[in-house]
C-alpha cells in the first residue's frame, strides 16, 4: 500500500481534486523538495542571473521503463539537461509533466520519481513546476514524461555551426552505442544483456567545465537518436563542411559491438544518452581531451576525426579499420534488425 492509500493510479488522480492533491503532496513533492516548487503556484517564479538563456523541451516514452543503467525518470532529467549542456548552458530549472495510464502502479511511479529527484540533484538543477495528467487505459503506454529545461549560458560560450572551420577536431567523451543496444536487447529480451549498460548521464558538469576552461569549443551536440552518424551528418550539413573520422579511434565496448553485429546494426547509428560530440579548435584539441579525461564522464574521451573542406556536398567519411574509406550515411530514422 502506498503512502496515499492507493496501489494504482486512477483517472481521479488527474482530476484536480483531493486525490490529485494527495498524489502531488505525498509522492511528487517530497523527493523534489525545493522552495520554488513548494509554492505550488500556477507558474514557478525564478530569479536567474542575467545573461543569455537557453530553453528546451523533450518528451520521454522509453520502453522498457527500467533498463540497465537507468530508467525513464533518470532519462527525462538527463536528456533535457544534456540539450541545455550542449547548447553551452548551465541548467537552472526543469519542469516535469507526467502523463500516466489508468491502473499504473503507484509503487513504480515512486521509483521513477526517486530517479528524477536523484538525477536532478546530481545535475544541480531544480524541478520547479510540473503537471500531472491521467488518461484511460490504452491511451498511453504506462507513463510518458515531458520535461522542459531552462539554462543560463556559460559566460563566453559562443557555439554555432557558423563557428566551425576546416581543421577543427571532433571529440567524443566516450564509448558509443551503449544506450541503444541496452534498450534494444532488453526490449527484445535477447539474452545477451550482460555487459550492456546504458550510458544515461547528465553532461552539464563536464560541458561547463570545458567551456569555463577553454575558449576552443565551437559546437556541441549530443548523439541521441540516429547516433554518431546522424550527429556528424547534421554538423557537416550545418557547417557546410565535410568531416573525416577514423574507425580505429571511435571508442566502442566489445559487448556493444558484438550485439550490434549480431543484429546487423551499424553501431554508428545507435543512440547514446550520456555522450556529446564537440567540435574543437585544432590547437586546443589535446587540452580539451585532457580536461574531458579528468572528469568521470569523459574518461574514455577520444579525438575521432576532423573537419575538412568540402569537395561537392558536405559528407561524413570514415577511414575504416582495414584502411578503406566509406561514407557514413545519415540513418533512415529507425534501426531494424536485418536477416541478410
Amino acid at each position: 500500500m502506498s503512502a496515499s492509500g492507493h496501489e494504482r493510479i486512477l483517472l481521479a488522480h488527474g482530476g484536480g481534486g483531493q486525490l490529485m492533491d494527495e498524489l502531488i503532496r505525498r509522492h511528487i513533492l517530497p523527493g523534489l523538495a525545493n522552495d520554488t516548487l513548494a509554492e505550488l503556484g500556477d507558474s514557478a517564479r525564478l530569479n536567474l542571473t542575467s545573461g543569455s538563456l537557453c530553453f528546451t523541451t523533450d518528451s520521454y516514452v522509453v520502453k522498457p521503463l527500467f533498463f540497465n543503467g537507468g530508467d525513464i525518470g533518470k532519462l527525462a532529467v538527463c536528456g533535457t539537461v544534456n540539450d541545455l549542456a550542449v547548447a553551452g548552458a548551465r541548467p537552472a530549472a526543469l519542469t516535469l509533466s507526467l502523463i500516466i495510464e489508468d491502473g499504473f502502479e503507484i509503487e513504480v511511479l515512486d521509483r521513477i520519481l526517486a530517479s528524477v529527484a536523484a538525477a536532478a540533484r546530481e545535475s544541480s538543477v531544480e524541478v520547479v513546476t510540473g503537471d500531472t495528467k491521467t488518461v484511460e487505459a490504452g491511451a498511453a503506454d504506462k507513463i510518458f514524461i515531458n520535461t522542459a529545461g531552462l539554462g543560463v549560458r556559460v559566460a563566453g560560450a559562443d557555439l554555432g555551426f557558423e563557428k566551425i572551420a576546416a581543421g577543427d577536431r571532433i571529440l567524443i567523451n566516450g564509448t558509443i552505442g551503449d544506450h541503444g543496444m541496452t534498450i534494444i536487447s532488453q526490449r527484445e529480451d535477447m539474452g545477451f544483456q550482460s555487459g550492456l549498460e546504458s550510458d544515461c548521464a547528465a553532461l552539464a558538469s563536464l560541458t561547463c567545465r570545458l567551456l569555463e576552461n577553454t575558449m576552443a569549443i565551437r559546437f556541441m551536440r549530443d548523439p541521441t537518436r540516429g547516433g554518431l552518424a546522424a550527429t556528424l551528418n547534421e554538423i557537416a550539413g550545418g557547417a557546410g563542411l565535410s568531416i573525416e573520422i577514423r574507425e580505429t579511434d571511435i571508442p566502442v565496448k566489445p559487448a556493444v559491438q558484438a550485439a550490434a553485429e549480431m543484429l546487423g546494426f551499424d553501431v554508428l547509428t545507435i543512440a547514446n544518452e550520456g555522450k556529446f560530440v564537440a567540435v574543437v579548435e585544432r590547437e586546443s584539441a589535446e587540452r580539451c581531451l585532457s580536461l574531458c579525461r579528468d572528469h568521470p564522464l569523459g574518461k574514455n574521451a577520444k579525438i575521432i576525426g576532423e573537419v575538412v573542406e568540402t569537395r561537392d556536398v558536405p559528407t561524413v567519411e570514415m577511414e575504416t579499420r582495414i584502411g578503406g574509406r566509406r561514407i557514413v550515411q545519415m540513418p533512415y530514422g529507425r534501426e531494424l534488425p536485418r536477416i541478410c
Binding site: T320, I322, I339
Partner: protein
C-alpha cells in the same frame, strides 16, 4: 589481420594488372554487401576490379506483388502479421508495411519461433508469418510449420517468399551479354546447402565460385582467389570458409526444407520470373499456406516494367541509364532492389554520385 589484407591486396593488384581488363565479380549475399560497404573494401581494390552487388538480399528482391499480398492481410482485423524487421520498409505498389504499421497488427519478430509463439498467445487471431529469406531462414520456417502441424496450431500460417540462390545465379548467367566474371559465394547459405551446390555454376558456365566469410580479410582473400583463378585462365569451386562450410552442408536443414517445401517458379524484384527459385509449401502442409487460406494472388503488378535493376545487377548499365532512376525511383520511394537496399548500387549512386561510390 592487416598483414593478410595487405598481402591479398598486393596479389589481387598483380592479378588484375596481368588481366588488363575490367573484372566484374558479383557477391550474392546481403551480408557480404554490407561488409564491403562498411569496411570500404571497394576503395582499396584495383581500379579495374568491380564488385557487383547481386540479388543477395532476400528482402530487397522480394517482389512487389508479394508485399501487396502482405498489405492486403495487414488490413484484416482478424490477422496479426509477424515479420522480420527489414521487411517493414520494402515497398509494395503504393505503400509499405511501415506506413501500415501504426494501424494494423504488424509485429516485428526475430525468429519464426517468435511468430509461432505469437499465434499461441493470440488464439483469437490468425498469425501470418512473413517467411522470407534464402536457404538460411527457410529451415527455421519449415521447423515451425511442422511444429504447428504437430500441435494443431491452426491460427498460424505462413506466406512463403523463400528463395533459392543457385537458380538466381543461373538466371543471371543465362542473361544475354551478362558481364559477370565470377561469384563470391555466400557464407551463410553455404553452411546450409554446402559449397558443392555451386559446382553446377562452375561446370555449366565456367565461372569461378569462391565461398568466403564476412570479415573484411575473408572477403579480400576470397577476391584474391578469384582474381588468381581468372588470371590463370581457370574457373574452379573453392571454399575459403572451411571453418563452418562443408561440401555437403547441413543435411538435417536440407531435409526439413525438402520435407515442407517444393521449388516452384517465382518472381524476383527487378529480375522477373525465375524457374524453380521460390519455395512453396507442399500439399501436405497447405493448410498453413497463407496464399491458399486467404485466396491471395502471387501475380506481380506491372508497374515495374521499366525498372532496369536486372541490368544494373549484372553490370550491363550504370544506374542513371535507367529511366526510373531519380525520377520515379528514389531511396524514399524505391522501385527496384538496388534502390530498396541502402547499400544497393542505385541508392548509393543516388546519394553520392558516381565518383564517390568507387573512391570516396
Amino acid at each position: 589481420m592487416l598483414d593478410r589484407i595487405n598481402k591479398a591486396q598486393r596479389q589481387t593488384k598483380a592479378a588484375c594488372e596481368a588481366l588488363g581488363r575490367q573484372i566484374n565479380v558479383m557477391e550474392v549475399c546481403g551480408t557480404h554487401t554490407v561488409s564491403i560497404f562498411r569496411n570500404g573494401i571497394r576503395s582499396i581494390l584495383p581500379g579495374n576490379l568491380k564488385l557487383l552487388s547481386g540479388p543477395g538480399c532476400p528482402v530487397c528482391v522480394t517482389d512487389q506483388g508479394y508485399i501487396d499480398a502482405v498489405l492486403e492481410l495487414a488490413e484484416r482485423q482478424d490477422c496479426i502479421i509477424a515479420t522480420y524487421g527489414d521487411m517493414i520498409r520494402v515497398p509494395g505498389k503504393d505503400r509499405s508495411l511501415e506506413t501500415k504499421q501504426a494501424k494494423a497488427g504488424v509485429r516485428v519478430v526475430l525468429s519464426s519461433e517468435d511468430a509461432l509463439q505469437l499465434a499461441k498467445d493470440n488464439p483469437d487471431k490468425t498469425v501470418v508469418f512473413i517467411a522470407v529469406g534464402f536457404e538460411t531462414t527457410a529451415p527455421a520456417t519449415a521447423v515451425v510449420v511442422k511444429e504447428a502441424a504437430a500441435e494443431s496450431i491452426d491460427n498460424f500460417c505462413i506466406l512463403s517468399g523463400h528463395k533459392l540462390v543457385v537458380p538466381a545465379m543461373r538466371a543471371l548467367l543465362s542473361g544475354k551479354n551478362n558481364k559477370i566474371d565470377a561469384f563470391l559465394c555466400p557464407g551463410h547459405v553455404s553452411v546450409i546447402i554446402g559449397y558443392g551446390a555451386f559446382a553446377e555454376i562452375v561446370e555449366d558456365f565456367a565461372r569461378p565460385c569462391v565461398v568466403a566469410g564476412f570479415e573484411a580479410v575473408q572477403i579480400i582473400e576470397g577476391l584474391n582467389e578469384i582474381c588468381g583463378q581468372l588470371s590463370a585462365g581457370k574457373a574452379a569451386l573453392k571454399s575459403m570458409y572451411s571453418a563452418v562450410v562443408t561440401e555437403k552442408g547441413n543435411a538435417a536443414a536440407q531435409q526439413v526444407i525438402k520435407e515442407c517445401f517444393e521449388p516452384v517458379g517465382g518472381y524476383w524484384r527487378g529480375l522477373g520470373k525465375i524457374e524453380k527459385s521460390t519455395l512453396k509449401l507442399r500439399d501436405k502442409y497447405e493448410r498453413f499456406d497463407a496464399f491458399k487460406r486467404f485466396g491471395l494472388s502471387e501475380t506481380p503488378s506491372e508497374e515495374r516494367k521499366g525498372c532496369r535493376c536486372g541490368e544494373v545487377l549484372c553490370g550491363l548499365i550504370e544506374p542513371p541509364e535507367c529511366g526510373f532512376f531519380g525520377q520515379v525511383c528514389t531511396p524514399q520511394k524505391p522501385v527496384g532492389p538496388c534502390m530498396v537496399s541502402s547499400e544497393g548500387a542505385c541508392a548509393a549512386w543516388f546519394k553520392y554520385g558516381r565518383e564517390r561510390i568507387r573512391k570516396p
